[in-house]
Each structure stands twice: as C-alpha cells, then as structure tokens.
Symmetry: C2
Subunit: 322 residues, 2 copies
Amino acid sequence: MSILVVGSVALDTVETPFARVEETLGGAASYFATAASLYNQVNLVAVIGTDFPREYLDFWRGRPVNLAGLRIEEGRTFLWAARYHMDMNTRDTLDTQLGVYAGFHPVIPEEYYSSKLLFLANIQPELQMEVLEQVSGVSLSVLDTMELWIMTARAQLTEVIKRVDMLLMSEEEIHQYTNCASIVKGVRQLLDMGLQYVVVKQGSYGALLFGADGTFFSAPTYPLEEVIDPTGAGDAFAGGLLGYLSTVEPQQDGCYSVDQIKLGVVHGNIIGSFVCEDFSIGRLRTLIMDDVAERYQCLVACSHFDPDWRFSQPGQVKTVIK
Amino acid sequence: MSILVVGSVALDTVETPFARVEETLGGAASYFATAASLYNQVNLVAVIGTDFPREYLDFWRGRPVNLAGLRIEEGRTFLWAARYHMDMNTRDTLDTQLGVYAGFHPVIPEEYYSSKLLFLANIQPELQMEVLEQVSGVSLSVLDTMELWIMTARAQLTEVIKRVDMLLMSEEEIHQYTNCASIVKGVRQLLDMGLQYVVVKQGSYGALLFGADGTFFSAPTYPLEEVIDPTGAGDAFAGGLLGYLSTVEPQQDGCYSVDQIKLGVVHGNIIGSFVCEDFSIGRLRTLIMDDVAERYQCLVACSHFDPDWRFSQPGQVKTVIK
C-alpha cells in the first residue's frame, strides 16, 4: 500500500549550540519520504531547482521512493536557515527563500492515484486543498501545518482541516489556532470540526493521540542521550505513523482500527527519535527495521506496568507482616 | 508501614491567570502528608506559628496523620506567595517570609523511629542532613530539593544526595545541578553519586524513572482538562509514590523491587494530577481510593500497546491483498 506525500524539499542551514551544517537535505517531504520508505513505497510530489544535488535523488532512487511527481524547475531550491536554542526544543528561523516554490502548484501523477495514505506536509493550505481536489479513495489523510499558516491563512487552513481525517499539531499551534489555554479543550474544539484524530506533538515529551470516539493515548518517547538536530522530527514522526499503517490492513469499512492508529503513533515516536540523532536525514540513511524493532521493545519495557493493581488496605498488609 | 516526612507547612497566596487564593494551606509537607495519608499513616515533622488555622490541624487529626512532631511556636507560620504564568508550568515567587521556620531544627519523636519510608521535602540541605542523622533502618529515603539550594547550598546538598536512595528533580534542576545539556547524561552523573533512583519531574508531561541498575521507566500523565493550581503537585507526587510503597512489602533484602517502584511512580503521577484540579489541598480532601483506582485504569488504557509487534514485509501484505 503506497503513501502519497506533498510538501517541501529544501536545502537547510542549521545551527545548534554545538554544530552547524550548510545547505544539507531538508524539507518536510524529504524527511517524510525517507522515513516512510523504510516501510513501503512513497510517492513524492514536490519541486526542486536545478541546483539540487544529484546525490539526494540517487539516494531516493535506491529506496522505494517514486519521483514521478518531483518537478525540477529552472532556479534555486527552497532554502531554509534556523538556529536552535540551548534546550533544542525551540529555534529561530533565520532565513527563508522560496525559490522555485514561489509558483508551485502540486500536480498528482496518475500513477499515484492508487495511494491509500496521504500526508499533506506543512505547505500553504491552498496548495493542500489543491491536492485534496485531485485525490480520492484515501484510507487516511493526515494534515500537518505551521504557525505561519495559522496566522496568515487561517480561513483556508480551516477548510483543509474540515476535509482530512487526522491533524498533527504542536501544543503551541493548538493554543494559537483554538485560543484555548487547555490542550484538552483545544483538541475537543478541533475534533468538533469533523476530524477523526488529533495528534499533539510534544517534541522530546512524545505525542498524544485524541480520537473523536473518545480515544486517548499517550505514546512514550525514547530518552535520547544526545539530541544532535531535532529538525524534521515531526515529519519523520508522520513518516513512521503512515509507514507503519501501510504495512497493515485497514478494517472492512476501509478505516484503520484505533489499535492500529496507536501503534502508528508509537512508530512515529520511534522514527522521530532516530532523526534527532544526526543532522538532516543522516540517521535515516542507515536505519534498518531491526533498529526500529529494538527501540519498539525498549518502549514497551519502559512504559508498560501492572494493569491489574488493586488497593490493599494497610490493615491487610499489617496482617501479612505479623 | 508508616511514612516519615520532614518539610514545610505554610500559608500560601497563589495567583493564576484565572483566580487567586490568600493564605491557604500550603507547604511541601502539607501536600505530602495529605496525599500519603490516603494510603497509610504519615508521621509529620514541621513547625507552625500560633497563627496557623486550627481547622487544618483538625482535618489532619481526622486522617492517619501523626502530629507528634509538629511544633507550634510563637510567631507567624511560613508565608509564600507566587503568581503562575499563562502556561501554568512556570511561576514567579512574589514573597517568602520564613516566620517560625527561621530557627527551625527538626526533631524526630521516638514514636516515629519505626517509619520505614522517609521523604525529605525541599527544606535546607543542612536540616535534611539533621534528619538523616536521627533516623535509621529506613527501606527507602527520598529527597526533594529546589533551585535555591542548588544555587546557595550546593556542597551541603551534595552530601545529602550521597546519603539517600532516591532523588526527585525537575529537568531544570538537573541542568542546574549537573551542568549537562542532556537529561540522560545529567541523570547518569547523579546516579554515579550513589543514588539508586532518580525521578525526573516533568510537570504536565509526567515523570521519568532512572535506576542505577539501568532501569528506565516513562510514566504516563493524566491529561487534565483544566489545571486550577499546580502548586504542590511534586509533593503530592512524592506522597502517591511513598503512599503506594507503604501498602506493599519490600523484598527479602529490605529493598523495593523495580516493578514496585514503577507502580509507585504511576501513583505519584495520579495523585499529582488530582492536586492540580483545585487550589491548595482542596481536591485531596475529598479524594478516595476508588478515584485513584479509576484514574489508574485510565492510565493503563492510554499508555499500553501491543507488546508483540513484528515487521510485516510490504510484499507479504500485498500477497494477502491479492
């Protein structure tokens, strides 16, 4: 079951308190496609300039990443530069140059039409809507966004939210969009717009899954000894989530079960944690499914506890002691 | 199995973005004793002034809280005032008046000597050391501290850390004390000082347990719809942790098993979440063990997932489809 992603492919310059990389592979769609292609075929829709390094294309060609929807246009690839603060959870954007993205309109190749899973990375809501107009029969559509669109394209973003199944948002974005001080209340407001699921991305604290059916799931996060670069962790999270779902069968009604979605969130956390271990897609290049399985077992061990606890009256305990 | 706590009993004035209370019951030992007395007998050591409202003493007398170690001295009870920021995870201390705490030295009554669990709340490290000099034969000693002592009494705090079994610290406190940007590295430095366990308090994100034996456990937190006042959540966490442990038997070597400690952390999170639902000890007053059991089941449901996932090759899935 193949996965369709539409979003940015970029060249990133990233500075952390400890190191700096220049014009390395970045962009939400790059992280997503590299992550999800560990599980299954990814159909990529994006645009790059003629300056885009050939080595990245060769890398994707060596994996199940379909590049039929990747347009190469005269001009510069999207450039993004940012500097992380000491806590590595917050950053300042230093520069954004749209380049060939300025006039971009996504075109979904016919051979992508059979994709059953869709990830709309954080591009302009009107472009996300153009994608939705071109696809049908998707089992799960997942939407990401960013502060910029909440502030500048709220109405269009709202229309897109009403058309998708799942929304990924950070806590700050939920506060910004809903004006609720309480995340739980904000999520409820979002679910009332017709979403089936809202995933709250919490950076190094993991992710929360809320369902319209009342589902709540708190996925543990893997405790990294060292975060090298958290860029792309949210996109890799989405890659792990949809990658995992692409390996299982939806239910008879065409939808995934809540338990499948939960495991998807666990996989999202796992892949998101690996991404932080190197700059760009460095860690994803070498990642194999055995690494994922090992970290999965770590998360089981570090988050499960006796499900059957019952209170023992202190009096009962004392009797045992005597 | 009774629990000994030494710490502050105070009158708090707390302001949140939504409400304000004046000179209500506060102090780490108050929160701890009220929380832990839900599980078992608590032996309290603290000092109050003659202005301390009688109703709070009557409330504790109605629970298994032993007040033999609570001294009443001429003067004013410890006063603390703080204002919370919009996110409710950070606050400014507006006023601190030690009152009768200025000359306080803890004296452990003989009838407390049989206490098998000890909580050293966040008073001055030299007073915590005075407590350690007076007790022996404790199954688990748990230490809390605060930024003030890390900054002003680092050497004394270090001596206390070397003498206890478990340390509770927030992420900020670990950064401050260890100078490590990485929590995992900071925790390792602390464990190397001889601690058996370090618990990293993460506010609304829950708590992490690290053991000298390599244990790592990430306890889920209950998603509160509304946080009224997070004051005392860390002390109530300790109350839930030691309260739970007081209801189970340590192993033959006198120590608690890792699984018991894990469940203690889960109980800590549960009780900590309840405290935030009202100002002061408001919610703890009415809390019963059925409420705890219900929230425990919620946490099981929202954090456990299939422990036996194995990767299915996409090829295998496709075969099933055809």
